[in-house]
């Protein structure tokens, strides 16, 4: 017998689908600019943001955005030094923020603070106000991405050419980092800090072999993300698996099939 899903399932579905659509175009840029590791680092700085937000009693989403933006600024500075490669600098920052975040959460320990829910999220615990964040914040992010799209693609292709043609690389990059921070903060509730970047990167990777232009890749990534999200939630409910990881498993399956088909066609 078919029974109408409970409201919490609807909320989970709406939040995850909304997030999937927002994350897809950003994920393409992240893939093109080879920024997955940067994104991971920003996401883990978010955990530090949660701890600071709890300690200072400010809105957690805002605290996460601020922490991620601060981390982006730190990475920009680290990118200017020449003692170690950016990869090593990221390795340092990535683990430092994660360790500091976990330690700070432990210090801020109080009633109802659950580290696991920040690390892995809980899509079925999404509230109405979370939904407002996803859709209002998401609409703003999509509008910004639409405006920034062309300069971002040009910078991804060739930074000097774009700059010589009049794109401002610093401002564009800063705006993108800000968008990334907002998406990470919003996504944390749904998929958690450890799997946020999968929401961005995996659909983009899955879309690449099937795309001939940047715009098509972004649209396809969004479509793949939405389908995987629906399938992942169904998997989660029917097999009693955690929601976020189930969605990511579905996304990765699509990506694997797409890459396999793509390499077949090439070879």
């Amino acid at each position: 017998m078919f029974s109408w899903p409970e409201p919490f399932i609807w909320r989970a579905l709406l939040a995850a689908v909304g997030l999937a659509v927002i994350a897809a175009p950003l994920g393409c840029i992240v893939v093109w600019r080879r920024m997955s590791y940067v994104g991971e680092t920003l996401a883990q700085a978010g955990l530090l943001g949660v701890a600071l937000g709890l300690a200072l009693k400010v809105d957690l989403t805002l605290a996460v955005v601020l922490a991620a933006v601060a981390a982006a600024g730190l990475l920009t500075l680290l990118g200017r030094q020449h003692l170690v490669s950016l990869d090593s600098a990221l390795g340092l920052t990535h683990h430092a923020t994660l360790a500091l975040g976990i330690a700070a959460i432990a210090l801020a320990k109080g009633p109802g603070i659950d580290l696991m829910s920040y690390l892995f999220g809980d899509v079925f615990a999404v509230t109405r106000s979370d939904l407002v964040w996803v859709y209002v914040g998401g609409a703003a992010v999509l509008a910004m991405i639409f405006y920034l799209w062309e300069p971002l693609v040009r910078l991804s292709l060739h930074e000097d050419l774009a700059t010589a043609e009049g794109v401002d690389p610093k401002l564009t990059r800063a705006a993108f980092d800000l968008l990334l921070a907002v998406v990470i903060a919003v996504a944390m509730k749904v998929v958690g800090i450890l799997l946020v970047m999968a929401f961005l990167v995996v659909p983009a990777v899955a879309a690449r072999p099937l795309s001939t232009t940047p715009e098509r890749m972004a649209l396809l990534a969004a479509a793949i993300a939405v389908i995987s999200t629906i399938f992942g939630l169904w998997l989660s409910l029917s097999s009693d698996l955690p929601g976020g990881p189930s969605i990511v498993i579905a996304m990765c399956t699509v990506a694997a099939i797409s890459l396999l088909a793509g390499s077949r066609r090439q070879g």
């Binding site: 093109w32 000097d160 043609e165 564009t172 705006a175 232009t213």
Partner: protein, 291 residues
């Protein structure tokens, strides 16, 4: 707050020169150097320090309508840095870049290797960030001899095709000054000659000023009106044959470099056939690089 700088605000050091150069119209073949007032861009006493070293030391440079200026110099001589200063990507510590408001620059960067992860057809690349109509894109591709690449993926082009597509993109901006940074890099020898043929042809047909960066001397020099030999500072400059006999030039490139140049010019005067004649040149070039 705009994400785009007006393209003629290339930095604080840029000043607008009075008296726009009459340039960009087609001349019947003539491309004699013109008076100094016609400069499309001029760099005056540029200085830039990087890592405790003067990468650019008191460089003066000028490009006028219809003239090909070739910037040569060994690796690390600051050629690309100078181009970045002229384009306003980087700012000099001292010095001026004078750029009349009528100067429109088309830029062909060095090492344009498109990441495979970015799906992009040649056509969509040429349309990106501009307002070119489909017919403009086609005629630009036709002009550079790359029309058949229109639907190919950018990351799959050969070195020569990539350079042609980049030149087409530069032309779509309707430039009167074309700046090409090592356009022959990653192009085989025959392709290199064709590429310089194309660039020379653009100068003749569109009466463009051209600033060409190269560390290969022979082919470039034959087509240049003026050669500037850079090694942090300007070592010497002048007509190609003048520069090749300059003591400073010989010191930097060695007698073999100078020999390669004269060999090429001799052959170039006879024919454009590049099959047999190029062999000894290539050897001499290899020896120069090795030395």
């Amino acid at each position: 707050m705009s994400l785009f700088r007006p393209s003629d605000a290339a930095g604080l050091q840029t000043v607008a020169a009075e008296g726009p150069p009459a340039c960009g119209h087609v001349h019947d073949g003539g491309h004699e150097p013109q008076p100094a007032g016609d400069a499309l861009i001029s760099a005056r006493d540029l200085w830039l320090r990087h890592g405790g070293r003067d990468v650019i030391a008191g460089v003066n440079l000028e490009v006028r309508c219809g003239e090909i200026v070739t910037l040569i110099g060994p690796n690390g001589a600051g050629k690309t840095t100078l181009v970045r200063l002229i384009l306003g990507i980087e700012k000099p510590d001292r010095g001026l870049i004078v750029r009349p408001p009528t100067t429109r620059i088309g830029y062909v960067p060095q090492r344009f290797e498109v990441d495979r992860t970015i799906p992009m057809t040649v056509r969509s690349f040429l349309a990106l960030g501009g307002s070119a109509a489909a017919t403009d894109i086609e005629s630009a591709l036709d002009e550079v001899g790359a029309l058949r690449t229109a639907h190919q993926q950018l990351s799959r082009l050969s070195g020569g095709e990539t350079q042609r597509v980049l030149i087409a993109r530069a032309l779509l901006r309707r430039p009167n000054l074309l700046i090409l940074d090592e356009p022959a890099r990653g192009v085989d020898f025959a392709g290199e000659a064709e590429l310089y043929e194309l660039i020379g042809g653009l100068r003749d047909k569109r009466h463009l000023g051209i600033l060409l960066v190269s560390h290969d001397l022979h082919v470039v020099m034959a087509k240049s009106d003026r050669v500037i030999c850079l090694n942090g500072h300007v070592c010497c400059s002048g007509k190609p044959e003048h520069v090749s006999q300059h003591a400073e030039y010989a010191r930097i490139f060695g007698p073999k470099g100078a020999a390669a140049l004269s060999v090429y010019r001799h052959h170039h005067d006879h024919a454009h056939d590049l099959t047999g004649e190029t062999k000894p040149l290539g050897d001499a070039d290899a020896q120069r690089r090795g030395s």
